[in-house]
C-alpha cells in the first residue's frame, strides 16, 4: 500500500483546442491590417467609430456596418508602466502599455509605446504606428510593432477626457 499521506498534490494537465473564427466585423478589421489599414465601423445611431469593431455599438445595441478607415496615429489617453516580466512579452523592463485614441476613432485601444523613455510617456502625447516591413504583413495586429512619439504638441485633456 502506498503511503497516502505522501500525496500532497496532483497535476492534471488540461489542453483544449479551438478553431476560432472572428466573425464578420473582426474579419474585415484583420483583412484591413493585412493591407496596412486600420478599419473601424461607425454606429448608424450615435455615429461613434469603433476600432477594432465587434459588429455592434455597445451603447446603442445596433449593428455597425459602415466601414471607416482611421489614421495610424493618435493620442495616448492613459497608460501604465509595466515592471513585471511576462512569459510571452520579450521587452526590456520597464516598458509602457498605453490606451491610444486613433484619429477618427471613438474608443481607444491597447498598444505598446517604444522609442521613448518610459518615464516620458504622458496623457495627451501624440503617437504613430511603427509598421513591420510590408512583406511581413498578415491579418494580425502584429503588423504594428509598437507606437512611438510623433513630436507634435500634446492634446489638451479636455479633448480626450470623454474617451478614457
Amino acid at each position: 500500500m502506498a503511503d497516502e499521506s505522501a500525496i500532497q498534490s496532483i497535476v492534471t494537465p488540461v489542453r483544449m483546442e479551438y478553431t476560432f473564427t472572428p466573425g464578420a466585423a473582426s474579419q474585415r478589421f484583420l483583412l484591413g491590417l493585412a493591407a496596412g489599414k486600420l478599419m473601424g465601423q461607425r454606429c448608424p445611431e450615435c455615429r461613434k467609430v469603433y476600432v477594432p469593431p465587434r459588429g455592434a455599438c455597445p451603447r446603442c445595441g445596433v449593428a455597425t456596418r459602415d466601414e471607416v478607415e482611421v489614421a495610424d496615429r493618435g493620442t495616448v489617453t492613459t497608460f501604465c508602466i509595466v515592471r513585471v516580466p511576462s512569459e510571452n512579452i520579450d521587452l526590456e523592463l520597464p516598458y509602457t502599455a498605453a490606451q491610444i485614441l486613433l484619429d477618427g476613432a471613438d474608443i481607444p485601444f491597447f498598444a505598446l509605446i517604444q522609442e521613448c523613455p518610459w518615464d516620458q510617456v504622458r496623457m495627451g502625447m501624440r503617437v504613430e504606428a511603427v509598421w513591420r516591413p510590408e512583406a511581413e504583413w498578415g491579418p494580425t495586429f502584429e503588423n504594428i510593432r509598437h507606437f512611438r512619439p510623433t513630436g507634435e504638441p500634446d492634446v489638451p485633456f479636455e479633448r480626450f477626457q470623454q474617451h478614457l
Binding site: T12, G23, R59, G61
Partner: protein, 360 residues
C-alpha cells in the same frame, strides 16, 4: 385550474416574447455578438416593451464553449446597455438565466426581464469540453467525455430491463421526424426503423443517432409580471411553476437510470396539477428522454418534443432555454394549452429544471 398543491408565488409571471436563431452545425460567418443582435432585437420587438423599460437582463453561456475568458462580458455589446442596465450572467444554460430573472421579478425589484443565451460549440470539441465540468481530482483526469458518460448511462438503463435498443432508436426517429416541421432544427428527416440497430456504435451502446449534433446558435426570451404582461401582450403565456433540483456531482454516486431531481422539480413546479399537452424535454441522448418521461410520469398521449428536441439541435447553453421557448411556440400556435418544459445541466442529467407553462 390550480389544485391545493400548486406552487404559491408572490407574482404571476408570463413569457411575452421568444426568438432564436436557426441552429447550424457551424456558425463561421458571425461572432457571438453578431449572432445575438438580431435575436435580441426580435425578442424585444415582439415583447412590445421598449428596450429601456426592461428591468433586468440575464444571460447564460460558457467561456469554455467560447474558448475565451469573460466572453459573456463581450456579449453585452449586443444589448445597447446605455444608460447602464441591471445585468447578470450564469455560466449555465439560458434556462437558468430565466430562473434567475424569474426570481428577480418575484422579489418585486423589477417587473420584466430579458434573458438570452448563446453558444458556438463548433469552435471546440464539445464532448471533450464537457469533461471540464467534472470533479477535477478523481474523475476529470480519467477523461470521460460527454458521449462516453452518456453511454454508461445508456448501458445502465438497458441493463435495468426497462428499455431496449429499439426504444432508443424510436426516440431518435421520432425526434428527427418531428424536426421536419421546425425550420430552426438542424437534423431532420426519416431514420429507417429496422436498419438503425445495424449501424455501428459511436460509443457502445450508443449509435450516432442516439447522440445530439454539434450545434451553434442563440436564443432570447422576455418575461414580465402580470401587470406588465397584460398591458403589452395580447396572449401572455404564464409560467405556472418553475423549479430546479440537483443531484450529486459524481455520476458514480447516483443511480443513472433514475432522475429524482427531475421528479422533485416537477412536483415543486406543480406539473401534475393539470393535463400536459406538450412536453419539451432537454434530453441530448436518447436514453435520457426515456428516463425523464418515467420520472415525469407523462401520459401516453402527451406530445414529446414537437420541435425535435436536443437530438435535432443541441446548441450548448441554449438547448435548455430553447425547450422553454419551443413550448411557448406550441402554446402560442394554439396546439397546446398547457406545456411542460425541461432543461438539464451537468453530466448524465445531474441538474434539472422544470417549467410549467399555460395559456390564458
Amino acid at each position: 385550474m390550480a389544485s391545493q398543491n400548486s406552487p404559491k408565488y408572490n407574482r404571476q409571471v408570463a413569457v411575452i416574447a421568444y426568438a432564436q436563431t436557426p441552429y447550424v452545425r457551424s456558425e463561421r460567418r458571425r461572432n457571438e455578438v453578431e449572432m445575438l443582435m438580431p435575436v435580441i432585437a426580435e425578442a424585444v420587438e415582439k415583447s412590445g416593451l421598449p428596450r429601456q423599460e426592461i428591468g433586468f437582463t440575464c444571460s447564460g453561456s460558457s467561456d469554455y464553449i467560447a474558448g475565451q475568458a469573460f466572453s459573456f462580458v463581450g456579449a453585452v455589446d449586443a444589448l445597447g446597455a446605455w444608460p447602464p442596465i441591471r445585468e447578470s450572467h450564469v455560466e449555465m444554460d439560458g434556462a437558468w438565466a430565466l430562473y434567475e430573472a424569474w426570481i428577480k421579478i418575484q422579489t418585486g425589484e423589477v417587473d420584466s426581464a430579458l434573458c438570452f443565451c448563446f453558444g458556438r460549440s463548433s469552435m471546440g470539441d464539445p464532448a471533450e469540453t464537457m469533461i471540464l465540468q467534472l470533479d477535477p481530482y478523481t474523475l476529470a483526469p480519467l477523461g470521460p467525455d460527454a458521449i462516453s458518460l452518456a453511454a454508461l448511462q445508456a448501458r445502465a438503463l438497458l441493463d435495468s430491463g426497462r428499455y431496449t435498443s429499439v426504444d432508443l432508436a424510436e426516440v431518435a426517429a421520432r425526434s428527427r421526424r418531428n424536426a421536419r416541421s421546425n425550420p430552426d432544427a438542424q437534423l431532420v428527416g426519416d431514420l429507417a426503423g429496422e436498419d438503425l440497430l445495424d449501424e455501428p456504435y459511436l460509443v457502445s451502446p450508443l449509435h450516432r443517432y442516439d447522440c445530439p449534433p454539434i450545434s451553434d446558435g442563440a436564443a432570447a426570451i422576455v418575461i414580465a409580471a402580470a401587470e406588465v404582461a397584460r398591458r403589452v401582450c395580447s396572449r401572455p403565456i404564464w409560467i405556472r411553476g418553475i423549479d430546479h433540483r440537483i443531484e450529486p456531482h459524481q455520476p458514480g454516486a447516483r443511480d443513472l437510470t433514475r432522475s429524482p431531481s427531475t421528479r422533485l422539480a416537477a412536483e415543486k413546479a406543480g406539473a401534475s396539477d393539470g393535463r400536459i399537452d406538450v412536453a419539451e424535454l432537454h434530453a441530448p441522448f436518447t436514453p435520457q428522454e426515456l428516463i425523464l418521461r418515467d420520472e415525469l410520469r407523462l401520459a401516453g398521449d402527451v406530445r414529446i418534443n414537437p420541435s425535435g428536441g436536443a437530438l435535432a439541435a443541441n446548441p450548448l447553453m441554449v438547448a435548455g432555454l430553447a425547450r422553454i421557448g419551443e413550448a411557448t411556440r406550441e402554446i402560442a400556435a394554439g396546439r397546446a394549452q398547457r406545456a411542460l418544459a425541461h432543461a438539464t445541466s451537468g453530466p448524465c442529467l445531474q441538474q434539472n429544471l422544470v417549467c410549467v407553462l399555460e395559456a390564458d
